[in-house]
């Protein structure tokens, strides 16, 4: 059943891109479906759902650091975007 969901979400992703949806809608949908697929694989195929919650910290901490490091660069990106306007 999980595999069915993964297949369906992938076909949805390709479908909306090829159908030429508005860009904002595509970006939002693709980010959501990618996150959903990643979570399904992590929870059910990697068995995180059935492990102790403490195990979730193992992938969780580096992901958090990644978001922080990328986020730390965003003011610089926004500054350059504003400069170009």
């Amino acid at each position: 059943m999980i595999y069915g969901w993964l297949l369906g979400l992938t076909l949805l992703e390709v479908g909306v891109v090829m159908a030429g949806w508005p860009r904002g809608a595509i970006v939002t949908l693709l980010m959501s479906t990618a996150l959903a697929k990643a979570l399904l694989i992590a929870l059910y195929f990697m068995h995180l759902k059935f492990d102790r919650r403490a195990v979730w910290w193992l992938p969780g901490i580096p992901l958090l650091f990644g978001i922080i490091f990328v986020g730390a660069l965003f003011p610089d990106v926004v500054w350059h975007l504003v400069q170009r306007m």
Partner: protein, 195 residues
């Protein structure tokens, strides 16, 4: 659900075998590695004055097919672990071989895609997008290749009757690695090939 096999010790607080903990620690380093690459791509793309539409350069249906191939390999890997836990040697060997075959198919399709793109003039040095695309997918491809080699080793071990319902740790830990590279591709496919 996860029990240390007869020869393994469980890590305190986490209640998982030391081998599984070791694989997770390795995956932590891999998460940092790919987060660095993907984060750099996001910052470069947001900061670029212009960026081509991936759909105009890349073969989206082919890459979608490749995604389905890799997702299917995750399923067969999960089935292989289930077979090991149930002591079904035939199903274990079959699913390990299928997973390796699907992983190889992924690499062959990727290779075809690379050659096709190269002939169209989309190379690692043709543009910033080209550099990002080949770097990200290339590193991912190397990880898939390592996974395929690991799966062939596991299949050979399974053929010798190494694994049983009481001894399947290596199958589980390798499965974690394989599902991780599947997750990486799911993210790459969305942010690199579709958006």
């Amino acid at each position: 659900m996860d029990r240390a096999t007869s020869a393994e010790v469980e890590v305190p607080l986490l209640d998982i075998p030391t081998g599984k903990f070791g694989m997770w620690v390795f995956l932590v380093s891999e998460i940092m590695f790919f987060t660095g690459l993907i984060g750099s791509y996001i910052v470069l793309r947001l900061g670029a004055t212009s960026w081509p539409k991936p759909g105009e350069i890349l073969n989206t249906p082919l890459l979608g097919l490749n995604t389905l191939v890799l997702l299917s390999s995750s399923l067969t890997m999960a089935l292989a672990l289930h077979a090991a836990q149930q002591d079904c040697q035939g199903a274990l060997k079959r699913n390990l071989l299928l997973t390796a075959a699907l992983g190889t198919s992924f690499l062959l399709i990727k290779g075809y895609d690379y050659v096709h793109m190269w002939h169209k003039g989309f190379t690692i040095s043709s543009s910033l997008f080209g550099s990002c695309y080949y770097l990200l997918t290339g590193f991912h491809g190397l990880h898939v290749l390592s996974g395929v080699i690991l799966l062939v080793y596991l299949w050979a071990a399974a053929s010798r009757g190494v694994f049983s319902a009481a001894q399947y740790g290596r199958i589980e830990y390798s499965g974690l690695y394989w599902h991780f590279i599947d997750i990486v591709w799911v993210v790459l496919f969305a942010i690199l090939c579709l958006v």
